[in-house]
Amino acid sequence: MNLNFQQLWRYQDQFIEGVILTVTLTGIAAVAGTLIGLSGAILGRSGPQPVRWFIRSYIEIIRNTPALIQIFLIFFVLPTFGLKLPPFEAASVALSIYFGAYAIEIIRSGLDTIPRSQIEAGASLGLSRWEVFRHIVLAPALRNIYPSFTSQFVLLLLGTSIASQISAEELFHTGSFVESRTYRSFEVYAVVCAIYFALTMAFKGAFAVIGRLAFRWPVRR
């Protein structure tokens, strides 16, 4: 029962690269997923019936099955259709699809929280539909979805660790690699968990600061 973190120092570069890849993977999935979320929220509201039905099924299927199985399906199944993606790319696609399903729901509920009377007030001042959305709906809607969106982002950050299961290179994969070299399971996973925790806290802190700067107007409690 002796602790030895010394050996892990040799792998500092790998850990740093793992962190960068994890953040990159999270960023890709968050941006792509948000785009899916935006278009899905708009189409799910005003698109033709078959499109709405498709979006509904997409959300339910993704939200009610494990992300691990989704990532396996993307990685192992696409090659049978002749589309072979490298692990990191496959993980990016799978996690974007995954995050998109949650983003649609979050964005939709955010738009629903804006009272009709606000839209009417904008219209009565002669503003176009786009101007009403841009200047009246958008900022309060963003504020309303900010807490759930950012906590979903943190769940995504932690969730990217499953990409290691198709050997995509990211932080968790680095951990497994270092463990296989050093056999210091305890130290390696303690360090990996600590890094994820530090990343989580850093993002949470940044989100809190951004939120405070962006949403200054007082609201009724």
């Binding site: 029962m1 602790l3 339910e60 299927i61 939200r63 009610n64 099955t65 494990p66 992300a67 691990l68 199985i69 989704q70 396996f72 399906l73 192992f76 199944v77 049978t80 943190v154 932690l158 969730g159 660790s161 499953i162 290691s164 299961q165 968790f172 951990g175 463990e179 056999y183 210091r184 399971s185 305890f186 130290e187 390696v188 996973y189 303690a190 990996v192 968990c193 994820y196 925790f197 989580t200 806290m201």
Partner: protein
């Protein structure tokens, strides 16, 4: 290489019972801890609040996969003992559930109006009795949709136990996929089984939520 047969399907369903065991274990071990954490978070004693808050932040800041690896590979090596897989995995899932449920239940308790505490205390009963008979029933009603929502998250989360070689549904799927070379079929079946478990819960959670919002 061979084809996917009913016996493969059978092995998937056999593995399903381990998924259910994991969920049960996570709830049975995690729920009491979660209740304790929720109560600590609303306690009048500041250090209790801090400890609970730190624990929640910590566990919710670590991937479930990390918890599993740490308790399955890390801790036994550190302690130099053999730990049965089910124990290590059970501890990891209990830690995971306790953090999420603790946060959900704290939210439920705090959503009960302060006046209810005051009204209860005016009856001359102890603080625990106030909680047990007045606050908890109301908090449970408020927190139930999110609790069921977490159950869905937990069922999906048990798939990660496959990573440490635990043969539950996802692992059984991997094995069947490797044996039959039919990943599309096998993983679709696996996904469908998860969906069949989770979707009804999601619907239930949603209808409870709607009823709750309607009642307010």
């Amino acid at each position: 290489m061979r084809i996917f047969t009913t016996s493969d399907l059978f092995s998937l369903f056999a593995a399903l019972q381990w998924t259910i065991v994991l969920v049960t274990l996570a709830i049975a071990l995690g729920a009491p801890l979660a209740l304790a954490l929720a109560l600590m978070r609303i306690s009048k004693i500041a250090p209790l609040r801090w400890i609970a808050a730190a624990y929640l932040q910590l566990v919710q800041g670590i991937p479930l996969l990390g918890l599993l690896m740490f308790f399955y590979f890390g801790v036994p090596v550190f302690l130099g003992i053999q730990v049965p897989a089910i124990v290590a995995v059970g501890i990891a899932f209990a830690a995971y559930s306790s953090a999420f449920l603790g946060e959900i239940w704290r939210g439920g308790i705090q959503a009960v109006k302060q006046a209810q505490w005051e009204a209860a205390s005016s009856l001359g009963i102890t603080r625990w009795q106030q909680f047990r008979y007045v606050i908890a029933p109301q908090a449970l009603r408020i927190a139930l949709p999110a609790t069921i929502g977490f159950l869905v998250q937990l069922i999906k989360g048990t798939s990660l136990a496959s990573v440490v070689g635990f043969v539950e549904l996802a692992r059984a799927g991997q094995l069947a996929s490797a044996a039959t070379f039919q990943p599309l079929l096998v993983y679709s079946v696996v996904a469908a089984i998860y969906f069949a478990m989770c979707f009804p819960l999601t619907i239930w959670s949603r209808s409870l939520e709607a009823r709750l919002n309607g009642a307010r």
